[in-house]
C-alpha cells in the first residue's frame, strides 16, 4: 500500500541560520571591542593633550628652572674639576726656590712648563760642592724624577765659581699627590 501524505512538510535544516547568527554576533562583538578600545585610547590621548595644553606655562617655567639648576650644578662640578687639574705652579716654584740658597744671586734663568714636565735652570756663582748639594736636595724631593746635568763653565778662578745648567724632570703625579695631602 502506498501511503502518500502531500501535506507532510520536510523538516527544515536550520544549521545555516544558526551559523549565520553566530557569525554576525561574533563579528559584532569584535567590532564593538575594537571600537571601545580605540575610544578608550583616544580619550586618554585627549586627556593628556588637555593636561599639556593647560600646563604649558608651568612646564615652561619648570623647564627653565631645571635648566638654570643644571647650569649651576654643572658650573660647580666644572669648577671643582678645574681646581683639581690646576697646575700647582706656586707650590712648585716656592719649593724649588727654597732649595736653592741665595736664589736671587744664583738663578739667572729659570723655565718651567707643565706640558714638558721639566724645569730648566741656570745657576751662576756656584761652587761645585754647592751645586752638588743643591742637586742632591732637588733629587730628594718626591716630585723630582731626575736631575740632568747639562753644562758647567768656570766663571771665576779665584773663587772657584762656576755656572751650571741643568734640567729637572718632574713627576706631576707625585706633585699633585703632595698637594692633595
Amino acid at each position: 500500500m502506498i501511503n502518500v501524505n502531500f501535506f507532510r512538510k520536510e523538516a527544515k535544516n536550520i544549521l545555516p541560520l544558526i551559523l549565520l547568527v553566530i557569525f554576525l554576533l561574533g563579528a559584532g562583538a569584535i567590532a564593538a571591542q575594537i571600537y571601545f578600545s580605540r575610544a578608550e585610547h583616544e580619550a586618554a590621548l585627549k586627556h593628556d593633550q588637555a593636561w599639556l595644553d593647560n600646563n604649558t606655562e608651568n612646564l615652561e617655567l619648570s623647564r627653565e628652572m631645571m635648566q638654570v639648576d643644571q647650569w649651576i650644578s654643572q658650573a660647580v662640578d666644572v669648577q671643582n674639576t678645574l681646581r683639581k687639574d690646576q697646575f700647582p705652579m706656586n707650590r712648585l716654584t716656592e719649593n724649588l726656590a727654597s732649595l736653592i740658597p741665595d736664589e736671587d744671586e744664583r738663578v739667572v734663568s729659570f723655565q718651567v712648563s707643565e706640558t714638558s714636565e721639566q724645569v730648566s735652570m741656570v745657576l751662576v756663582k756656584t761652587r761645585t760642592d754647592e751645586a752638588l748639594a743643591i742637586i742632591r736636595d732637588l733629587e730628594a724631593q718626591p716630585y723630582v724624577d731626575k736631575v740632568q746635568f747639562l753644562n758647567a763653565e768656570q766663571q771665576d778662578q779665584a773663587t772657584q765659581e762656576f755656572s751650571f745648567q741643568f734640567i729637572i724632570e718632574l713627576n706631576l703625579q707625585a706633585l699633585a699627590e703632595e698637594g692633595a695631602e
Binding site: K12, N13, G26, I30, N58, S62, V68, T81
Partner: protein, 194 residues
Amino acid sequence: MKIKWNRESALVVLMAVMVLLAMYYFGHKNFVDPIKAEAENFSSTVRAQKSLIDSYPPSEELLAEYIADSKSTEDFLPNGDQFDLALVRLEELAKAADVQLRTVTRNSNQATVAGVPEQFVKNTYSVQVHSKSPSNFRSLIDALIQEERVWNVTTLSYSGNTGSYDGNFGLEIYYFLGGEAAALHPAGSSEPTD
C-alpha cells in the same frame, strides 16, 4: 526543524572562524594599535613632565632665586671670557706683588678643556712681566692661584740678574659659553612687558 551537519557546513564554519580571527587581528592592527602607541607615547611624555613639575614646582619667585644663584657661579665661571675684568684683576695683583706687566697676549680663544662639558672653554694668554726679584713673580702667581676664578699658570720662565728680572708666564682662564640664565626668562630679572 532539524540540524544537519555535513562536510560543507563544517567547511563554512571553519572559514567563518578564520574570517572572525582575521577581523580581530587586522581590526586591532589598523584601528587600535596606532592610536594605542600614540597614547602610550603621550602618556609617558606627560609622566615625565609631571615629574619635572614635581621636582621643580613652577613659580616665578623660585626661578628668580635660581637665576640669582646662577649669578654667584659667574664669579668663578663667567659667561663669556670677561677678560677686561680679569685683566684689571691681574694688574691689581701685579701691582700688589711689585711686578710690572709688560704685555698680555692672547694665544688661543675658546679652546676646549679636557674633562669638562664642551660649553666650558678656555683662553690662553702669555704675559710678559718685569720685576726686581723672582720671588715677586712667585707671589703674583700665588695670588692668581688663590683667586676664586681659576687661573691656571702652565708655564713660567724668567731670566735676569740681581735687581732686574724679565719673566713670561702662560695663563689659562676658563669660562662658560652656554648663554645667560637671565636671558632665558626676562620676567625673572626685569619687569614683564605687555
